[in-house]
Amino acid sequence: MANLANNYLGIQSPNPFWLASAPPTDKKYNVMRAFEAGWGGVVWKTLGSQVKNVSSRYSSVDYHGHRVMGFNNIELISDRPLHINLREIAETVREFPDRAMVVSLMADNNRQSWHELIKQVEDTGAHGIELNFGCPHGMIERGMGAVVGQDPEIAKMVVEWVMEVATIPVITKLTPNVHSVVPTAKAVVAAGTNGLSLINTIQSVTGIDLDTFVPNPNVGGQSVYGGYCGPAVKPIALKMLSTLGKNPATRPIPVSGIGGISTWRDAAEFMLLGAANVQICTAAMRYGFRIIDDLCSGLSNWMDEKGFKSTDEFVGLSLPKLTDWEQLDLNFHITAHINQDKCIHCGLCYITCEDTSHQAIHLDKGNPYNTYTIKQEECVGCNLCKLVCPVEDCITMEEHRKGDEYLNWVEHQRRGLPLNDY
């Protein structure tokens, strides 16, 4: 059985699954339940100035009868008194010394506030600090949260203040509400942050109640932009994560991956794209802490199958396989093939190709079942038919190279080859 033990910036945890800074890590009661269930670590919900929350706070996006494909919240940082949080953090660290305890912080925007808060947190025995530069609602109006993360200069300044006093590892959590996470990441790396984490939530409106016309969530007939997360944001998070791994300035800095991770498969994907460990919130809020069992056993079994003995053996392995468009092989060509024995004649491949792609599927009328076959000469190998086919391995993509050699766009242009055959 593969060893899931994780070392992130020297912070040890029995597995790479941490609970992200959010309602599930708001107090000792929740965190104790999480640790009892087996979670490797937590990032305690953000401490800072006292705030006041509203009701309601969450809304979700359901899709085709599946609940919570996307999730949105308008909660602020912890609304519990600072001294209670600090006391409970200290107690929890004592009771579960083998689990990672990282504390998320968002101090008022001055050096002294940050210094004081960091000292108070370090006194609890916590193992690390995460700087919340991402919260997209409520705090931005006060010059905190995402406002910091959106301005590399301000972010750099705050990290410098923090590094002046911090003696435990500091992780800077980035906001996705930017055109690129790289500038802020580079700035905070230059300022000395030990680690990075991403993504925080994305500003969003999840939907409108079609009876009341009030956007969700409804706070007494009004709403505001909330922070979007959950399975729907995973592709965006993966992209942003990989840009850190691709950039020479940020590549050496270990990243904690966050954003729509619901299963061990998602976690493995984040780690393959460079995350040293992962943080999870929405999936836990959807199903409770018991999902940790499958997260651990699924990842461990996959590691066994692939021959990985420890988690750091596969971190970043997929990064070299992400390249620039110009480097892709123009001679690589695939076409679809429909296995008639498996085909259930739903016609979805046909209608999508006919209506929206390349008219590469031939239809033979039948009663009640039509027969569908690929017109090889028309097929551009776009994958659409395979993607919409409801039957496993019914449509397969077969390789028919246009030429033996590897030929990319740069070389294609250099040789002055024709653009198309029309």
Partner: protein, 446 residues
């Protein structure tokens, strides 16, 4: 002994409760609707005699557009509500669902259809706007599925329709001829009211063709006529003892069940049912549900040739009916004028006959069943005398029509069981719809 009041009232209620109850929560509706793949040129639609756009209405249910779903169904089949309860979907839409090819449960099309149509009828949604009256008048004989479907399609186009119905209620076979656990009288009435609520349809009950009026009267007073008179006479067995007390025909038996409180319908202790069609199953299962102790269904061919579906046969089996294949009635033995025994010939399969099935051949051996009631469900015969009286072209009592329902008499159309000899409700609805189009063209309205 044949008697009524065999069970407690609650037992009757339980035995005749809805056999395929509707979805009872929105979650289940949504989950099922979202399973639908939304097939292109969908096999389910092709397998529906009325060509309901099934993927379309299921998509509409999935998005919460129940009104749109109901409209999609009714546009093709105005009796879509009744059909969702009585259609043998396992051999129509659900039977061709592509999930069958994946060896998974097909989409519950009938239940979803019921969900949408029932909601529409309950909520009295106004889905159709009649065109302004065009001064054309059409008479329809029979307020069954064919007649009502024809009436609705004509009224929609502004035609004034008068429907003549010999019974006291509309719905035809739906109201009088199917098992009570499939549709209730209240449902049938609501469905008739729903169809006629479009306006321009005047139903005159207890008006019988050949008795209260003639085809000539109708031809004189209306611009066109549609005959949707169905079938209704059970074929005689032509054997000794057929006139004994206790020998009944399935149509009459089910008619009684549908028109009287269940506890008032008498049934025997030991019942034999002859035939293996839907009506035979309905008669047998309901005999059992009325309290008969032993019910035996006899069929002269084997299970491979049976006209009913597996689903129907399973209902009979689950109700505890005995099934005897390769048995044909030979003689009914009575005592004091009442049925006592049924002598049956054991059959074997011979050559393929005109129906394409291997024909039953008498093996010469017999066996005897003790019974006190015999129900004949050996197929229905057309109203040959009515058809001949009306002088329309016919073949063995079945009215001959063009593809659009036109008979040899100008302006006289026909459709449904009286043309096809007796098929599903949904076939009759389609025939009424097609004939309405023929009539509109005949009246130069289309």
């Amino acid at each position: 002994m044949i008697q009524n009041n065999r069970l407690a009232l609650q037992e009757y209620e339980r035995n005749f409760a809805d056999i395929h109850p509707p979805f009872d929560n929105q979650e289940a509706v949504s989950a099922e609707a979202n399973r639908c793949l939304f097939c292109y040129d969908a096999p389910c639609t092709k397998s529906c005699p009325t060509s309901i756009n099934v993927p379309q209405f299921i998509k509409q249910i999935a998005t919460g557009n129940i009104k749109g779903a109901a409209k999609t169904i009714f546009d093709s089949n105005i009796m879509g509500a009744g059909c969702s309860r009585v259609c043998p979907v396992e051999k129509l839409c659900e039977g061709s669902c592509v999930y069958n090819l994946l060896h998974e449960e097909p989409i519950q099309i009938a239940r979803l259809q019921r969900h949408a149509t029932e909601t529409a009828i309950e909520q009295q949604w106004k889905l159709y706007e009649r065109k302004a009256p065009n001064n054309k008048r059409v008479a329809i004989v029979g307020a069954g599925p064919a007649g009502l479907s024809c009436a609705h399609a004509l009224a929609l186009q502004g035609v004034e329709v008068t429907v003549f119905e010999k019974e006291a209620k509309g719905g035809g076979l739906m109201t009088y001829g199917v098992a009570a656990y499939k549709v209730s009288p209240e449902f049938c009435e609501a469905e008739v009211n729903w169809i006629t609520s479009i306006g321009g349809i005047d139903v005159r009950y207890q008006q019988e063709l050949g008795k209260d009026f003639s085809l000539e009267d109708l031809r004189r007073n209306y611009d066109a006529v549609f005959l949707g008179i169905g079938v209704g006479l059970t074929r005689n067995l032509g054997i000794e003892g057929e006139n004994l007390e206790g020998v009944v025909d399935a149509i009459a038996f089910i008619y009684d069940l549908r028109t009287q409180p269940h506890q008032q319908v008498p049934v025997g202790n030991k019942v034999a049912v002859i035939g293996m069609g839907m009506t035979a199953i309905d008669a047998a299962t309901q005999s059992k549900r009325l309290g008969a102790q032993e019910v035996t269904i006899l069929y002269r061919r084997t299970e491979n040739e049976k006209p009913c579906t597996d689903v129907e046969l399973d209902i009979a089996k689950l109700d505890g009916c005995n099934i005897v294949w390769l048995a044909a009635p030979k003689e009914i033995i009575g005592e004091n004028g009442e049925v006592k025994q049924l002598v049956c010939s054991k059959m074997k399969l011979g050559e393929v006959d005109a129906s394409g099935r291997r024909s039953p051949v008498d093996s010469g051996e017999t066996f005897v069943l003790d019974i006190d009631m015999l129900i004949k469900a050996t197929g229905q015969m057309p109203y040959q005398h009515l058809v001949q009286m009306a002088a329309v072209n016919e073949k063995s009592g079945k009215i001959q029509t063009s593809a659009q329902g036109a008979t040899n008499i100008a302006g006289v159309f026909a459709g449904g069981d009286c043309v096809n000899g007796g098929k599903e409700v949904v076939d009759a609805v389609q025939a009424g719809k097609v004939a309405a189009q023929g009539i509109l063209e005949y009246l130069a309205l289309a």
